[in-house]
């Protein structure tokens, strides 16, 4: 086991990845807050956070500017901010528009792209554009060098893998190389491809019923001056992601399905030669194995102590239910650690209350940044002590 600050030592970028509904946004915010408390200037980039979380951090609606989170908010909950916490709520469409504006050779070219229907569909809806734009913003902030650490909360793709694949797919689409050669009516490729291709096009047009080709042609035309800029940038973004100062944290839940997805996602990270840092498992039921089997006399003990057989029975049933879940979680996490061949598995327990405020983030940080003694206490079913380590602050 390791704590988040050990995993992130010397890193510039932390990317939290995982499937939907596993608490990525909260984890990213808690990591950023914890690292800022330890002395770094941190910015968390998030997409669509829970409104109450955003409100409690004093953040306004979507905007593409980083905002400083008031340290007094954390101090009120006993967390001293030695560094600075900044947050940015990403607006994917605005980022894409900015990127086009930057890459366009002139205003006319920019307006042609921004007004094109295919572009509008892509920038709004095409799977991958949110992911791509998140990377883009990450790259931009990293280049500016204003922060010690950037924490990215990845978009809620149903399938976590889309996230890795998205930038490549999007640039390929924008390049449109294979299509553009066919669209040039007198091009050599068109003649080589011959009648087959043109029949395919006309059949497609007949089925779809609208002149998609005209729109696509216009789109690629409008983009033609920018393709090289996009490609070069995409390569630099990819370079940044595989840099050793970048770190991917896989976030998941303790049930079988999220664990399977985390295993799969980890494999894809390794295949893509991206730097895996560790895995955070949220909403884990504690305690587990320690109490297995010593509950034989529990019912009698409880009845004696509570003087209420019915209440004792319900307490016992509830405990058995919890233990079943705790055992399941422990089994799944064991499997996860084995499959990932990692000891960097951080468990955050299923807390009694939803986490949507600063107090909740501070609570989660006690687990994410727990020392080894605190982790032992955790495993024994006791919450870690409120005393936090103060010796971990560092600046790169």
């Amino acid at each position: 086991m390791a704590a988040v600050d050990e995993i992130l030592a010397g890193k510039d970028i932390c990317i939290c990845a995982g499937s939907g509904g596993v608490g990525k946004t909260t984890t990213a915010a808690a990591i950023a807050a914890g690292m800022a408390a330890r002395g770094l200037k941190v910015c968390v980039l998030t997409i669509d956070p829970a409104k109450r979380l955003a409100d409690s951090l004093g953040l306004r609606e979507l905007g593409n500017d980083a905002e400083r989170v008031d340290p007094a908010l954390f101090e009120r909950h006993g967390v001293e901010m030695k560094g600075e916490l900044w947050a940015m709520m990403l607006d994917a469409k605005a980022t894409f528009d900015e990127l086009v504006a930057r890459q366009a050779p002139d205003e006319e070219a920019r307006d042609r792209v921004l007004g094109n229907r295919i572009y509008q569909q892509i920038s709004n809806a095409l799977a991958g554009s949110q992911e791509y734009m998140a990377m883009e913003k990450l790259f931009e902030l990293h280049t500016e060098g204003r922060f010690d650490l950037l924490v990215l909360d990845t978009p809620p793709t149903r399938n976590a893998l889309d996230f890795l694949d998205a930038p490549r797919r999007l640039t390929q689409f924008i390049e449109g190389r294979s299509l553009r050669v066919f669209m040039r009516p007198t091009g050599l490729a068109a003649r080589v491809a011959g009648r087959g291709a043109s029949v395919a096009l006309s059949v497609f047009k007949r089925i779809v019923g609208f002149d998609l080709l005209a729109d696509l042609a216009e789109f690629f035309n409008a983009f033609s001056g920018m393709v090289d800029g996009f490609q070069a940038r995409a390569q630099r973004v990819n370079g940044l992601l595989s840099d050793r100062r970048t770190c991917f944290l896989v976030v998941c839940g303790p049930q079988g399905e999220p664990v399977d997805e985390a295993v799969y996602f980890h494999r894809k990270l390794v295949e893509a030669k991206l730097p895996f840092g560790g895995v955070v498992v949220n909403k884990v039921h504690y305690p587990a194995e320690r109490l297995r089997g010593d509950g034989a006399d529990l019912a009698a003990d409880l009845t004696a102590k509570l003087g209420d057989a019915d209440l004792a029975r319900r307490v016992g049933e509830n405990f058995a239910d919890y233990q079943a879940l705790a055992e399941r979680d422990a089994g799944n996490i064991e499997r996860l650690s084995a499959e990932l061949r990692t000891s960097r598995t951080i468990r955050v327990p299923y807390l009694d209350e939803d986490v949507h405020d600063v107090a909740g983030l501070a609570e989660i940080d006690r687990y994410l940044f727990a020392s080894s003694e605190e982790r032992e206490a955790l495993a024994a079913g006791r919450p870690p002590t409120a005393a936090r380590r103060a010796d971990t602050s560092r600046r790169p």
């Binding site: 509904g21 029949v199 102590k305 509570l306």
Partner: protein, 328 residues
């Protein structure tokens, strides 16, 4: 540029449609879309609804739309793929792969074999199909519509009374259901125009099509469910039939009992302390969940039905069966 507008003569304003349609019970419809935020248990609820309908004697098929094969997982079945597989009596499942659906669509559209072969061989066709925004969603909804036909287009197709769709998560879900309308507005001529119109009519037809949202008793899922219901009404023209609040803990202890358990947890050690703590944790959770349930009821118009949390290591077919009994 051609764009869909709400005063397009083809369509009533969506909110108007949502108001004017009669309500029938979700399971008496032909198609039921199950949607909601990621990780709330959509697939489990979709499968449970399917089991419930099947138990009532309805021939039912559960469709997955993003090749996740979660339904087959619940049935502990091998991946079903783009085939109608029988899972239980009266209950089938299919995973709709857009590429397969596109292929099937082309086969049904083009009667000339040489032309079909040429199209499938052509790289440019698959490129265009992938590049056309919304085409994947359109052919997926087209396949759902085809499954719901009493006179199936596919050869030897089975007749179903009910098609249950494990729809994409919030956000993507809205776009998914809007696709036919967007397409009908963009494509002015040809088969897709009329078919997209037909599909849009299916989606807004309250008599035959239902929508259920699945929520969890937590802050963010409740907010998103309320927003989803509103967006479905204003942007798609669909009224939600039911909201399922999934994973509700039982209220096992009263406030007074919780106090006594608090004292016990403070004074004891070992198993007794752990049991008391587990009870307190359950009590707190159950209480905050009830508050979220009340919030959900205040914030959505559709009737809300609470579903119990199942204390099961993994949700399988038995758990889904027990949930099915509680869906009413």
């Amino acid at each position: 540029m051609r764009r869909y507008s709400h005063d397009h003569p083809l369509f009533l304003p969506p909110a108007e449609i949502a108001r004017n349609r009669p309500v029938t019970d979700l399971l008496d419809k032909r198609v039921a879309f199950v949607t909601g935020k990621g990780g709330v248990g959509k697939t489990t609820v979709a499968v449970a609804l399917g089991m419930r309908a099947a138990a009532e004697g309805k021939r039912t098929i559960v469709c997955e739309v993003s090749a996740q094969e979660n339904a087959s997982r619940i049935f502990a079945h091998a991946e079903v793929g783009f085939h109608e597989r029988e899972m239980a009596e009266n209950l089938w499942a299919i995973s709709i792969d857009p590429e397969e659906a596109m292929r099937e669509y082309v086969l049904l559209q083009l009667k000339v074999r040489a032309m079909r072969d040429m199209l499938f061989r052509s790289r440019i066709f698959s490129y265009l199909a992938a590049a056309t925004p919304g085409l994947k969603e359109l052919v997926t909804i087209g396949k759902i519509w085809e499954l719901a036909q009493l006179d199936r287009k596919v050869k030897r197709g089975r007749k179903y009374d009910l098609v249950i769709v494990d729809a994409p998560a919030t956000g993507h879900g809205i776009g998914f259901l809007q696709t036919p309308r967007t397409f009908a507005a963009i494509a002015r001529v040809g088969p897709i125009h009329s078919q997209a119109q037909q599909l849009d009519r299916l989606i807004v037809d309250r008599e035959h099509t239902g929508v259920a949202i699945v929520a969890l008793p937590e802050e963010m899922p409740v907010n998103e469910s309320a927003a989803l219901e509103r967006d479905l009404r204003t942007d798609v023209g669909v009224a939600v039939d039911r909201v399922y609040m999934n994973g509700l803990y039982p209220e096992r202890f009263s406030g007074e009992e919780a106090e006594r358990l608090g004292e016990l947890a403070a004074g004891e050690d070992g198993a007794m302390r752990a049991a008391a703590r587990a009870a307190l944790s359950e009590h707190n959770r159950a209480r905050s969940q009830r508050a979220q349930l009340a919030r959900l009821r205040r914030r959505v118009e559709a009737p809300v039905k609470a579903l119990p949390f199942l204390f099961e290591p993994e949700l399988g077919v038995e758990a889904a069966g027990r949930l099915a009994k509680r869906l009413g």
